[in-house]
Symmetry: C2
Subunit: 228 residues, 2 copies
């Protein structure tokens, strides 16, 4: 803004090379498993350049989120608005589910290493110490609350606990089919292909939509501690 868009020759390219390598290494090894050296090696730059451009390891990490997060936020917002205009209730449920799932898989498909960002997200979500970094709190919490409110509107007779657990179920399910750790291919004997983002997204959306629509409230009275 203040500084008019300079043509930074290769300076820009270096930052992007580092960001891209970091995304890959953080995704594969996690925040603690990744090292500045490994990232620098993969980016083919000296380690010092990372600190010059991003300040610190956590600074680099945050830059990855800063890059990919706004698009997710915007697309989810659009998805929720689209759902609001849908008159048919059944289709509205599906649209809310898609508002959560589709932007994430869209990123995977669109970006060259979108799968890496998906891995980073999944790890961040399952990392209690990640709360300290506060990334989710700053970036995803606002849209998450909107999602939760949208679910509550769809099912006005649900308790707040039911609504929230439903959201966590959806979020977890999305992560489950987004991980791509090699195990899915192994277990399925190749029948389920992690690289087929559209198929993966479609299957989660289908099951989650059905699960929300047909959630049987009477089951809530039952017992879980049945032997099994």
């Amino acid at each position: 803004m203040a500084q008019p868009e300079r043509l930074e020759k290769q300076g820009d390219s270096t930052k992007e090379k580092i960001l891209s390598a970091a995304e890959s290494v953080f995704g594969k090894l996690g925040f603690d498993g990744a090292t500045m050296r490994k990232i620098a090696t993969q980016a083919d730059v000296p380690v010092a350049l990372i600190n010059y451009h991003f300040g610190s390891k956590v600074g680099l990490y945050r830059a990855i989120f800063a890059k990919s997060t706004p698009a997710i936020y915007d697309q989810r917002l659009v998805g929720l608005q689209l759902a609001r205009t849908e008159p048919d209730w059944e289709k509205r449920v599906e649209l809310v589910v898609k508002a959560l799932i589709v932007p994430m898989f869209g990123l995977r498909a669109r970006q060259s290493n979108g799968a890496d960002f998906g891995r980073i997200l999944a790890r961040e979500l399952t990392d209690p110490s990640a709360e300290g970094r506060g990334i989710f709190r700053e970036t995803f919490d606002p849209i998450a609350r909107m999602m939760i409110d949208a679910i509550a509107e769809l099912f006005p007779d649900w308790t707040r606990a039911e609504v929230n657990w439903a959201y966590q179920t959806m979020l977890g399910a999305m992560m489950g089919v987004m991980i791509d750790n090699g195990r899915i291919a192994r277990l399925s004997g190749g029948d389920a292909d992690s690289d087929d983002h559209e198929a993966a997204a479609l299957h989660v959306v289908t099951i989650l939509t059905a699960g929300l629509k047909h959630r049987d409230r009477r089951m809530t009275a039952g017992d879980t501690d049945r032997e099994a």
Copy 2:
């Protein structure tokens, strides 16, 4: 077996103190984030004792799985057998879902630090480099294949891909409500309590059972890339 059960005075207690501390630290910080020193401090033993009893860091890590995994396996097996004897199809679906979910939450509730093991599991599942450790391949893959086969039997008209993605969806959903990273409480304003294992388990089981039973095959023909 060969060695008759000796009463090892406190030797046994030390190993268990380390194991318990390791479970907690690994759960909170992950494999790479955890350090031998932090574990030793929490267990209140010198670092060298960990290497004496477990050989290495990864040896200690594997010992954690060796301790908690067989119970999960057995209970899932029993759950699947129970499902097989159920004549009512709808109830059978629910029993298969419970065979996956209930043992995990049962462990959380029963064991003092069962939540820590849940965290470790979730991280191991979302860690591509964990495949190198081979823990899932050795411990959970056999029962996972049985679960997948059970789903396939329940829905004979599904493709193998659909069956496998359904399993991954279920697994992810379970992780999603099992993580307990503090975010669930924050987003729900306390309405969803991660410590209430029974409630959490019940909500996932309910949604997943409904999702499987009412999965609409006709949706599979639809498009995912609709703008959302």
